[in-house]
């Protein structure tokens, strides 16, 4: 026995239920100033000048512009294209131009309104379909961030082609805690950055060339949700807070208001996918030719990696001998898009699943039976030629269907009554999700974990952050199990870049599977160190008792690639991921015939997680991610104005589900252990995002017979489709 597999109380629970947990805006150093940002109002243009309104009282206000930047005017992630503040050219609406600091929030906002920015507009490209090769340059020579092509077999086959086009829009992460940073000058020089973030070391690296002579440590405050939205954007806010703190010599807090957060921060990449396919007379896929166009916005951020994951998931969990997967990510004069749970896979698999439905519909085959005929099985190879073992598609499909049958009778699922005229529908989707970084990403990263024996307690040192997904608890369980000690003796140290090693970013469904594995390795190393010190081989606590020294014992280990993956990054061939998660989901819904509203009644899922280190945490991830997918399906739309600026920049107009909009959920955990993960665990953070939207599309089709291939499937679009039938 041990804590792994047990639903121990979350380690972060008590502080969160008492209100004691400190998020960045709860932290208030003495003398703290407040920052605000002046932003571009046009999509593309020249910055001609910045002036302070002479009729405003500037005595307690500090202003920062690009001229105040000591190093390179760059917030670095993968490339050096994105400035911290505009110096000459504006490339998207809301782009930061100047910063102010003031003694109060209201003063800062007032001051920002009195900074006058003179600009000259230039023609802007807002449509990704015309961006590639356009004479107006946004990025590089051809406005292309990245191109990827994967080929297997030969797509030139004889036969009837079924083709379809699928479109998905932006989606906002909508963490309930808006973004924010606090930059505090240190007594010994340099800065401490405290804030809402996923990746402390990203901020550290992002600001290195901008502030080359500023020593800094970055500390994660309790963070109120991220979902990818706090992967890279926090670096921009940290850059701004830092510049203000350096100029004023005082702590500066920059907390985004919700409308600002909605307008200005990164979103899920909108995509258009075109798929052409063929099947043989038995209904087996023989050809799959898919192309994806990804809109990256004005700067590179991590768009090439989103493209990569999207392309690698464009077949869905299906086997096909002749495949071409082709993708291009382009620049537009819109706010840059970034990471959001799923990271290209939800977009790709919406298209793949809708296309499977299209084929099934054309051939008159039941869509579930058609899927079963084509799923990847052990020994099949993916588009990159990865031969799969321990596949879980059929297992999760069967488990989902049987769970759907065994819970809740139809009359309870569809309560009826009320003022609506409803038609019932049920839909299913089947997805897979590569766990962790693509290819040799981990080998290159070498994520590190430290561990300290502190008296009778063990402290874990890692940069992998708790965002609500249960990382802190899970790591304690893994370490405690490995050491054979009570889980209450294990804690995770605060994530301060000065004090913990770089375990890699908290993204990509890698934290439990990869970093958790390094935690396990660190525990082994700690035990080994204790054995070496005491000169004996015994259980951890026995060794501890026999220990003479009271000094701290410290180890640090890093991820070491076991060489089992064979991946060619240049040709995109080989083992794309160390393992895959599998999930099937089923949604019961009602479509209101008068309004086109989709009412979710029940959501059933079966997800292979390898090993559920903490089943309740795993369920929580699946349930939360699934509801984000259900919101993506029918309600969450980013409406842009003529400058590419989000018009519905209020929670009242960007619609996420309330408790009355969300269905009862039945969550089945399937465990097909992954040998490379701690106790068999795989990544599960993102896969719940992949299935709901296509399942909903199939259910709407079932209910009212309309085929929708665009997200979101708003009531307006459902009604229009019904009217056009």
């Amino acid at each position: 026995m041990g804590p792994v597999g047990e639903n121990i109380p979350r380690t972060d629970g008590p502080a969160k239920v008492t209100g004691d947990a400190l998020y960045v805006d709860d932290i208030r150093p003495a003398g703290c100033l407040y920052g605000a940002t002046v932003r571009a109002k046009i999509a593309h243009g020249k910055l001609l000048g910045i002036t302070k309104d002479p009729d405003f009282d500037w005595t307690d206000i500090t202003v920062v512009t690009a001229e105040d930047i000591p190093g390179k005017n760059v917030v670095y992630l993968m490339t050096e294209d994105q400035p911290a503040l505009v110096s000459e050219i504006i490339r998207h609406v809301t782009e930061p131009i100047a910063l102010v600091a003031a003694p109060t929030r209201d003063r800062a906002l007032e001051a920002a309104k009195h900074i006058q920015v003179e600009t000259e507009s230039l023609p802007a490209i807002l449509d990704p379909a015309v961006a590639e090769g356009h004479t107006t340059k946004i990025f590089g020579e051809d406005n292309v961030f990245k191109r990827i092509t994967i080929e297997k077999g030969d797509i030139a086959q004889d036969g009837e082609v079924i083709e379809g086009t699928y479109r998905v829009g932006h989606q906002e992460q909508l963490y309930i805690e808006p973004q924010g940073m606090l930059a505090v000058p240190r007594e010994n020089g340099g800065l401490t950055i405290i804030g809402s973030m996923q990746c402390p070391f990203y901020i550290d690296k992002a600001l290195a060339s901008m502030l080359p002579d500023v020593d800094m440590n970055v500390v994660q405050a309790t963070t109120g949700g991220g979902f990818g939205g706090k992967e890279e954007y926090p670096s921009m806010i940290a850059a701004h807070a830092s510049l203000l703190a350096l100029k004023t010599g005082k702590p500066v807090k920059l907390i985004y208001r919700r409308d600002e957060d909605l307008r200005c921060t990164t979103k899920r990449h909108p995509c258009t996918v075109k798929i052409r396919s063929m099947v043989d007379s038995n209904g087996k896929l023989t050809m799959w030719d898919a192309h994806i166009l990804v809109d990256g916005g004005a700067y590179n951020t991590l768009t090439p990696v989103v493209l990569s994951r999207a392309v690698l998931h464009m077949t869905g969990p299906y086997a096909c001998p002749n495949v071409r997967l082709d993708g291009v990510a382009v620049a537009t004069h819109t706010p840059p898009n970034g990471a959001f749970r799923g990271f290209g896979a939800p977009q790709a698999m919406f298209a793949a699943e809708r296309h499977m439905d299209r084929i099934a519909r054309t051939l008159g085959i039941d869509p579930v039976r058609f899927r079963r005929m084509n799923i990847l099985r052990d020994g099949d190879s993916t588009a990159t030629g990865q031969v799969l073992t321990d596949t879980g598609a059929e297992t999760v499909l069967d488990r989902c269907l049987s769970a759907a049958q065994s819970t809740m009778p139809p009359s309870q699922i569809h309560p009826g009554g009320g003022t609506g005229k409803y038609r019932r529908g049920q839909g299913l989707a089947l997805v897979f999700h590569g766990c962790g970084f693509t290819g040799n990403g981990e080998a290159w990263l070498k994520g590190k974990v430290g561990m300290v024996l502190d008296g009778r307690c063990v402290r874990i040192l890692t940069s992998s952050t708790e965002l609500g997904q249960g990382t802190e608890t899970t790591f304690c369980q893994i370490a405690a199990q490995e050491l054979g000690i009570d889980v209450h003796r294990v804690t995770v140290d605060p994530h301060d870049t000065e004090k913990v090693p770089d375990s890699g970013p908290t993204v990509a469904s890698r934290t439990c599977m990869v970093v958790g594995g390094v935690v396990q390795k660190a525990a082994r190393a700690l035990r080994a160190a204790l054995q070496a010190e005491t000169g004996s081989v015994a259980d951890f606590d026995v060794l501890l008792q026999s220990r003479v020294s009271e000094a701290e014992l410290r180890v640090q280990v890093e991820y070491v690639d076991d060489g089992s993956m064979d991946w060619d990054d240049a040709t995109y061939q080989g083992d794309a991921y160390p393992t895959y998660g599998w999930s099937a989901c089923l949604v019961d819904l009602d479509v209101d015939l008068d309004t086109g509203e989709v009412l979710y009644r029940r959501f059933v899922s079966a997800t292979d997680v390898g090993k559920a280190i903490h089943p309740v945490i795993v369920e929580g991830q699946i349930e939360g991610g699934s509801l984000q997918g259900l919101g993506y399906a029918t309600r969450e739309e980013v409406v842009l104005d003529a400058h590419g600026c989000m018009r519905n920049d209020r929670l009242t107009n960007y619609i996420i589900p309330t408790a009355l909009d969300s269905p009862e959920m039945v969550t089945e955990i399937v465990e097909i252990p992954y040998k490379g993960g701690p106790f068999g665990a795989k990544g599960i953070g993102e896969i719940p995002m992949d299935g709901p939207a296509p399942a909903v599309a199939q259910a709407i089709e079932c209910a009212v017979g309309v085929v929708l291939d665009q997200l979101p499937m708003t009531p307006e679009r459902v009604i229009t489709a019904m009217e056009n039938q």
């Binding site: 949700g225 997904q469 309740v616 929580g620 509801l627 408790a659 969300s662 959920m665």
Partner: protein, 156 residues
């Protein structure tokens, strides 16, 4: 000067009368458990009880708190013992990132006074003014339904 009772203690504040109660609570009284998620009454993260009724403190000017009894998340635990609803949230894993949790706990506390054994649909309606992005609401509803229940009792 505006005088009111917060979490059982009398306070007097010198704030401008139209200052948001949320800001008075967080900045002047240094009770940071109530959170700002949107500033316009659309997320419930700032929910407090005022004279026993759940309300968004970002929409209450402090002038309207005159002589009122206000309860924030910090006032739910009694004598260092968690309230049943807080314990239920821990037991059910209903808090993930935790930013929405104080608002939910406060809303649920008031609701359960009137309806200690609610159906799931009743819980959904009562909590509809509190947004959560992490949990899908499932375990929050489990926790609220369960918090005052007798052991072993199942409910629809």
């Amino acid at each position: 000067m505006i005088k009111f009772i917060i979490n059982g203690s009398e306070v007097e504040v010198d704030s401008a009368p139209m200052t948001r109660l949320l800001d008075v609570i967080r900045e002047d009284l240094r009770l940071t458990g109530s959170k700002e998620g949107c500033g316009e009454g659309e997320c419930g993260a700032c929910t407090v009880l005022i004279d026993g009724m759940a309300a968004n403190s970002c929409l209450i000017p402090v002038a309207q708190a005159q002589d009122a009894e206000v309860i924030t998340v910090e006032g739910l635990a009694q004598d260092h013992r968690l309230a049943p609803i807080q314990q239920a949230f821990i037991d059910h894993g209903a808090a993930q990132c935790g930013i929405c949790t104080p608002g939910f706990l406060v809303t649920a506390s008031a609701f359960l006074v009137d309806n200690p054994h609610p159906t799931r649909q009743e819980v959904r309606e009562a909590l509809a003014g509190n947004l959560c992005r992490c949990t899908g609401y499932q375990k929050i509803i489990d926790a609220v339904q369960d918090s005052l229940s007798e052991p072993g009792r199942t409910r629809e």
